[in-house]
Symmetry: C2
Subunit: 331 residues, 2 copies
Amino acid sequence: MSKAKKSAPSVSMDPLAIGIDIGGTGTKFGIVDRNGNVLFSSEISTRGHGEVENYIDELHKQLYTLVEKAGGSGRMRGIGVGAPNGNYYTGTVEYAPNLPWKGIIPLAKLIQNKFQLPTVLTNDANAAAIGEMMYGAAKSMKDFIMITLGTGVGSGIVANGNLILGHDGFAGELGHTIIIPNGRHHPGTGKYGSLESYASATGVTATALEMLENSEEDSLLRKIPKSKLDSKKVYEAAIENDKLAKEIFDFTGKILGMALANFVMFSSPEAIILFGGLTKSGELILKPTREHMEKNLIQVFQNKVKILVSHLKESDAAILGASALVWEMKD
Amino acid sequence: MSKAKKSAPSVSMDPLAIGIDIGGTGTKFGIVDRNGNVLFSSEISTRGHGEVENYIDELHKQLYTLVEKAGGSGRMRGIGVGAPNGNYYTGTVEYAPNLPWKGIIPLAKLIQNKFQLPTVLTNDANAAAIGEMMYGAAKSMKDFIMITLGTGVGSGIVANGNLILGHDGFAGELGHTIIIPNGRHHPGTGKYGSLESYASATGVTATALEMLENSEEDSLLRKIPKSKLDSKKVYEAAIENDKLAKEIFDFTGKILGMALANFVMFSSPEAIILFGGLTKSGELILKPTREHMEKNLIQVFQNKVKILVSHLKESDAAILGASALVWEMKD
């Protein structure tokens, strides 16, 4: 476990960082000390705010009460933001399929102007990778890939000890790589067969619906109305030994494992760190993932790459990762 | 064109570098000055030497006559070697499916001992990438991917101005990434559906044989005995407007384009630089490649990434790339 659990919350007037993690559904935010203790945190809806200005107002209002509790604005060193399709170089969020705001949004600038604090923004999964490197499973690693398996699939890639940002700041969109040519349609991107279409919570639900439709197999899942079916229900059925539910995880792990093999053959990381809702299914998904990763790796990579599950507390990790950006800011 | 063409060959006693490029079929080697002029070069067979010691002896014998011509061993700063599955950290070649020597071969050490010169080794495509960055199409780029389309498919990835080597030195095996799950069998690796199985000279020949078998279409290629069919013959038929031959390139470009889209979504390079025999087919392969890359990219990457063909002279480029390693050596 990270330092967050070992050291007592900071009571001095040491500087603090604000971490904001913007997801497709909700936005988590908190105030974090240098040791990775999340001192205060809360959440607002992302989806409920069609207008970005309106969203920023609400975020400011809710976050401001936490800032006051933590000793006021003067104690805050800055704001770190993780957001889907967030660009470190420009501070913009561009064409994010899972966010309600379309086009190019100058989010870092909007937040900086509203809060009057230096603000740095990156891809949500890049932020998570920095959090893992600073406080989590990737401590002391120089080459690793962080994959978040949530509503969508995000990724942050670290090589030679640095985030790979690419020439334009958009590197690391592994959820959108094509794993099954002409495969499942992704309504957000319009593409076919991307990793995210299969190895996300949404993807598992889609697989469940497909398998129920195409098979005659009896299953606990048949008792659940289709509109209520989700990855959690599939997990619950699988631990009851439901054959179809286990097949759903096998299929998901097969595709994830194939994708991970490709990523390994790209950057040859020491470990792949998985994070997010789907990892709660543990070996149900990890076992087929590991198997199919190894199966698709050429010999030189076999039995070398660890698949680790993040051990940061999920509610904290996203905020921690975003806040970690602040400590890396140049003065 | 690179400096190689602009400046006169070095006649002073400036240090020189030896570049050795080991391919599955042949090994090219030469003596290069700091400006990228290949002063002397020659070639021996790789395939013909089942024993690595025997190969090193032959290499030493042939190369030594060039060294003598160039002013003797004292003028040589060192030896740079590019080899499939070559590892920069360990100087070994490990489990290279296209080389005659199996297992782990301490090639840098063997060469260093034989020649009594400091020797550095890396993946052949990594060497090519350094050559492009120093003398070729990637000059002044910090983020690019080099793909060699020869008998096999190699790759070298540069991010933040550095080669991505991975935790173990084996990063950048993009030819072995799986593009078509359960696709064509690769006899060297035993894997199914890798990029190399399709987008190499060998892959084009296999596609030609498959298409001739599965179609009723008349084609110039039907006049060629199957054992004589190769990618060059397919090219010659395609420029004669042969429909089937053009379909072979369209199919190859489709798979290559899909793969490039995945690579772009990994490291977001400024350009992808293609090199090797297949690039001689020009727009026949580049057009479908570009189209299918764009088709599979999410919006944020579209119409941004250049696909460039290396403009280094093919016979020189591999030697140049390998020799470039020498100038990067630490004293």
